[in-house]
C-alpha cells in the first residue's frame, strides 16, 4: 500500500484556513472548487463515480462537479444550490474549510453566513465581463463582514487570449472599489479554472504574471498575526466547580478567547459588574500555561472569589469595552418574516442573550451600488440595513471593526426561536477618509 506523504505532514505543523467562495455557476465557481478539491485529491473515487452516474442520468456528458456539493434532494431536482455547503481539503501545509455559497437563491444570507467565519474570500469574475453588479455585491459583503483577505480570481483568461491588459484593468477596478470599502488586503490572480491555469499549477500561458497560484496563496496567506496588539476578550461560557475531595475549592471560568491574548498575573476587569481581579492560572485543556490566545478554549482562574457567571466578559483592566444598552449596527436580515420598528426580540451577543427592542431602522442599503434608502420601516429577507436596538441589560459590546467576535450578534424571535438577523456593531464600512495603511495595522481581526 502506497502512502501519500503529502497528506501525512506533521499534523502539529499544519494550520487551518477557513475561506469562502463567491460567484455564480456562470463565473466558473463550481469548476474552480471542483479543481481545488480534485487536484488536492479530496474528491474520492466513489464520490466521483456517484457524480458521473448522476450527471449521465441527467443527460449531461461531463461530470457536473456542482453535484458534489448539492447534497439535498430539492437541490438536485431543481438544479440549484439552496444552502451553504462546507467542503474539506488538505495540502501538506494547510487544512482548508471551504464555505461554498450559492450564487442565486437566498444569495445575501448565504454569503453573509459563509463570510462570517472566513479569513479569506475568493471573488470570481469572468474575464470577458469584468467587474459587474454581482462583483460589487460580493466585494461589499466581504467588506461588511470584515473578511481580512480577499482574492479576486479573474477567470476564463483562456477566452481573452491570456491578455495581460484585460486582467490588469479588471484587477485595478476591483482593487480600487474594494479598497474604498475598507478591504485590507486584495490579491488578484488571473486564472482559467477549466484549463487549470494558476489554480494549483502556475500557468504556462501567462508569463507576465509573477504572483502565486490560487492554491499557493491559500497555503501561505497568514492566518495569525500579532494578537498582543488586539483588545483581549474572554466571554465566560461556563463556571467549572468540581466540589470534589480532590478539588474542593477549584473555581474556573471556561470559555474560548474571542480576541487577543491573556497572561497569568494580568489584572482583569469583569463586565458588566466592573470588578477587578488578577489571573492566577490558565488551564489550556489539560496543560497549565502562562499565556493563551484566540481562539483557544481555556479555563481561567482568578485571585478573588467574585461573582462571575455565564455571559460575563473578562477583559484587561486597562482595555475593557464600555457597556451599553443602545446598539447601533448594520444587520443582514436572514428570516422570511420581516423585521419592523417596534419589534421585540432577543439579542444574542457572545455568551449572553438579552431582551431587546428595535427602536429604529434608519436606512436600508443596496449592495449593488451602496445607495442608502432612508426609513424603510422594515427589513425583509436578504436586506442589509442599519438598526438601532435598545437592550434590557447592558452589553460589553465592541465595534465589529475592532473585533468580529465580540462586535457581532444575532437577533432572535422570542416566540419561535427563529434567527432573524445577523448584526455587526458600529459603522458598516471602514471609512474611506482614513489612511488605508494605518487602518490595516489597527484592525483587530480576531480569528
Amino acid at each position: 500500500m502506497s502512502t501519500t506523504s503529502e497528506q501525512l505532514a506533521d499534523p502539529s505543523a499544519t494550520t487551518l484556513l477557513r475561506f469562502a467562495t463567491a460567484g455564480s455557476v456562470d463565473d466558473g465557481k463550481s469548476t474552480l472548487v471542483g479543481r481545488l478539491l480534485h487536484d488536492s485529491k479530496s474528491v474520492l473515487a466513489d464520490q466521483l463515480e456517484a457524480v458521473e452516474a448522476a450527471s449521465l442520468s441527467r443527460g449531461q456528458d461531463a461530470p457536473d462537479l456542482a453535484l458534489l456539493t448539492d447534497g439535498l434532494r430539492a437541490e438536485r431536482e431543481q438544479g440549484i444550490t439552496i444552502d451553504v455547503a462546507y467542503r474539506y481539503f488538505a495540502t501538506p501545509r494547510r487544512r482548508f474549510i471551504l464555505a461554498d455559497t450559492p450564487g442565486h437563491v437566498q444569495y445575501t444570507r448565504n454569503m453573509v453566513t459563509g463570510a462570517s467565519t472566513a479569513e479569506l474570500a475568493v471573488v470570481l469574475v469572468d474575464a470577458r465581463n469584468g467587474v459587474v453588479e454581482q462583483t460589487r455585491r460580493h466585494a461589499a459583503v466581504a467588506a461588511l463582514l470584515r473578511v481580512p483577505h480577499v482574492v479576486l480570481a479573474v477567470n476564463k483568461m483562456d477566452l481573452v487570449d491570456y491578455a495581460e491588459p484585460v486582467f490588469a484593468a479588471i484587477a485595478e477596478e476591483f482593487t480600487t472599489y474594494a479598497s474604498e470599502l475598507g478591504v485590507p488586503e486584495i490579491t488578484a490572480i488571473p486564472i482559467s479554472a477549466l484549463a487549470g491555469d494558476n489554480v494549483v499549477e502556475p500557468s504556462a500561458n501567462m508569463d507576465w504574471y509573477g504572483g502565486p497560484t490560487v492554491l499557493e496563496h491559500l497555503e501561505t496567506v497568514p492566518v495569525s498575526h500579532d494578537l498582543t496588539a488586539c483588545h483581549a476578550r474572554f466571554p465566560v461560557q461556563y463556571v467549572i466547580r468540581p466540589q470534589t475531595a480532590e478539588h474542593p475549592d477549584y473555581r474556573g471560568y471556561a470559555g474560548q478567547i474571542a480576541a487577543g491574548a491573556f497572561r497569568v498575573g494580568e489584572t482583569v476587569t469583569v463586565l458588566p459588574s466592573g470588578r477587578t481581579s488578577t489571573i492566577t492560572a490558565i488551564d489550556a485543556l489539560g496543560a497549565s500555561v502562562d499565556i493563551a490566545w484566540a481562539p483557544q478554549s481555556v479555563t481561567i482562574r482568578l485571585a478573588d472569589d467574585i461573582d462571575i457567571s455565564r455571559g460575563d466578559l473578562i477583559a484587561p483592566a486597562g482595555d475593557a469595552p464600555a457597556t451599553t444598552r443602545d446598539v447601533v449596527a448594520t444587520v443582514c436580515h436572514v428570516a422570511d418574516q420581516p423585521l419592523a420598528v417596534g419589534r421585540r426580540v432577543l439579542l444574542k451577543h457572545t455568551t449572553r442573550t438579552v431582551k431587546a427592542i428595535v427602536k429604529d431602522i434608519p436606512s436600508r442599503l443596496t449592495l449593488d451600488d451602496l445607495s442608502q434608502h432612508p426609513a424603510p420601516g422594515q427589513l425583509v429577507a436578504n436586506d442589509i440595513g442599519r438598526v438601532v436596538v435598545r437592550t434590557a441589560e447592558p452589553l460589553a459590546l465592541d465595534t465589529y471593526a475592532d473585533s468580529r467576535r465580540t462586535g457581532s450578534f444575532l437577533l432572535i424571535d422570542p416566540a419561535d426561536g427563529t434567527t432573524l438577523a445577523a448584526g455587526m456593531a458600529g459603522d458598516a464600512f471602514a471609512s474611506v477618509t482614513k489612511a488605508p495603511a494605518a487602518e490595516q495595522d489597527d484592525e483587530g481581526w480576531d480569528f
Binding site: 501519500t4 499534523p11 502539529s12 505543523a13 499544519t14 494550520t15 474520492l44 473515487a45 466513489d46 456539493t69 447534497g71 439535498l72 434532494r73 430539492a74 438536485r76 439552496i82 451553504v84 462546507y86 474539506y88 501545509r93 487544512r95 474549510i97 444570507r109 448565504n110 453573509v112 453566513t113 490588469a168 482593487t175 488586503e185 490579491t187 488578484a188 504572483g211 501561505t220 496567506v221 497568514p222 492566518v223 498575526h225 494578537l227 461560557q237 461556563y238 468540581p242 480532590e246 478539588h247 471556561a254 470559555g255 474560548q256 485543556l285 481562539p295 483557544q296 478554549s297 455565564r310 468580529r404 467576535r405 457581532s408 444575532l410 432572535i412 419561535d416 426561536g417 427563529t418 445577523a422
Partner: protein, 311 residues
C-alpha cells in the same frame, strides 16, 4: 496587482494554532455552549471512534469537574461484542451514566419489524426518538461529520428537530460566527455536532495525538467474513451469511463501527495507529462509500433517514 503576499510558514508566527488545536478548541466551545444553555443534554455513544473522540473532548472541556452529560446508546442488537465491551469499560472508568435504547426490545415487543435484508440501522430511529422524548433530552450530541456524506455537508452544528425528531433542511437556521442559536419549544430538541468540521483523517490524527484507546476491531485482525454487495461482512448470528455466500478468513479491519449487518470491513494490514493513518491518507474511497451498505440504497438515503430523525 498582487498587494502583500507574506511568505511565512505559519509555524514561524507565534500565535498560530495547529489545525488539530483549532478543531479541538471549536468542539470544546460547542460542548460548553450546550452545558451553559440546555437543561438535559445527552451524548450519543456507540463505542465508535467518532463518539469516543466526542467523549474525550467532553472530558477535557469540563476537567477537573465531571462531564455534565449522560450517555445514550441505541443498541441494534447486532453490535460487535468488542465494541460493547469497550463501551461498558469506558462508562465504568469515567463514572458516567449510560442509558441503552434497544432495537431488539422493540422487535420483541412487535413495535418494529425486522427488514427483509436484515439491516437494523434504519430501525434505530424510533428507539432513539422515543428515548429522547421519554428522558426529555433537549440537546443530543452526535458524532456526525460534514465530510461523511453530502446531506451531512449541509447540516448545522446546532440542528433543530421537532417533537418527532424530524429534520427539515429548508428550515435550518443560518449559523453565523460562533453564535449558535439553540432556542427550541418544549418537546423539540437540538442535535449538536461538535465534530462537524473534522475529517476522517483529523479524527485519526487526533486519536494518535491524544493517545486515545479504541476497540480492537479498528485494527487489522483475522476474521471470518463473507462478501455481500461488494463488502466484507462479519459472519455471525445476526443473519449472515446465506447459503450462497461462502465464508472465508481474511485479514481485515473496520473503518467505521455500526450494525454488523451493514458495516463492511476493509482488507488491511494496519495494526497500529500510524499504519491506519497512512492507509486512510492513501485511500481512494470515502469512509461510508467503503463500509456502509445502508448509504448505497439511493442517492438520498442519508437525507431520508436524517429527515426521519436518524443520527
Amino acid at each position: 496587482m498582487t498587494t502583500t503576499v507574506t511568505d511565512i510558514h505559519d509555524t514561524d508566527t507565534p500565535f498560530a494554532l495547529s489545525h488539530l488545536d483549532s478543531l479541538e478548541s471549536e468542539a470544546v466551545h460547542i460542548f460548553r455552549e450546550v452545558a451553559g444553555e440546555f437543561e438535559r443534554p445527552v451524548i450519543l455513544f456507540s463505542g465508535g471512534k467518532d463518539s469516543i473522540v466526542m467523549l474525550h473532548l467532553a472530558l477535557k472541556a469540563f476537567a477537573p469537574a465531571a462531564v455534565p452529560f449522560s450517555l445514550l446508546h441505541v443498541d441494534t442488537g447486532h453490535n460487535f461484542p468488542e465494541v460493547i465491551e469497550y463501551r461498558d469499560r469506558t462508562v465504568e472508568k469515567y463514572g458516567l451514566r449510560l442509558r441503552v435504547a434497544s432495537v431488539q426490545d422493540y422487535i420483541d415487543r412487535g413495535v418494529l419489524r425486522e427488514r427483509p435484508d436484515g439491516t437494523r440501522n434504519p430501525l434505530q430511529t424510533v428507539p432513539l426518538t422515543e428515548a429522547i422524548q421519554q428522558h426529555r433530552f433537549d440537546a443530543v450530541f452526535g458524532g456526525g461529520r460534514r465530510d461523511e456524506e453530502k446531506a451531512r455537508a449541509k447540516e448545522r452544528v446546532f440542528s433543530l428537530r421537532d417533537e418527532f425528531s424530524q429534520w427539515d433542511p429548508r428550515r435550518q437556521r443560518p449559523e453565523l460566527w460562533q453564535l449558535y442559536n439553540g432556542r427550541h419549544a418544549p418537546g423539540e430538541h437540538v442535535r449538536v455536532f461538535p465534530l462537524s468540521n473534522w475529517t476522517e483523517l483529523d479524527v485519526w490524527q487526533y486519536i494518535e495525538r491524544e493517545g486515545i484507546e479504541l476497540p480492537q476491531i479498528y485494527f487489522a485482525h483475522e476474521r471470518e467474513v463473507f462478501s455481500r454487495n461488494g463488502m466484507w461482512l462479519t459472519a455471525g448470528e445476526w443473519g449472515g451469511p446465506k447459503d450462497s455466500e461462502p465464508v472465508e478468513k481474511r485479514l481485515i479491519r473496520y473503518r467505521t463501527v455500526g450494525d454488523m449487518s451493514c458495516t463492511g470491513a476493509v482488507d488491511s494490514e494496519a495494526t497500529t495507529l500510524q499504519a491506519v493513518i497512512a492507509e486512510i491518507a492513501a485511500s481512494r474511497l470515502t469512509e461510508r462509500g467503503a463500509t456502509r451498505a445502508d448509504d448505497k440504497l439511493s442517492e438520498a438515503a442519508m437525507e431520508d433517514r436524517k429527515r426521519e430523525g436518524y443520527f
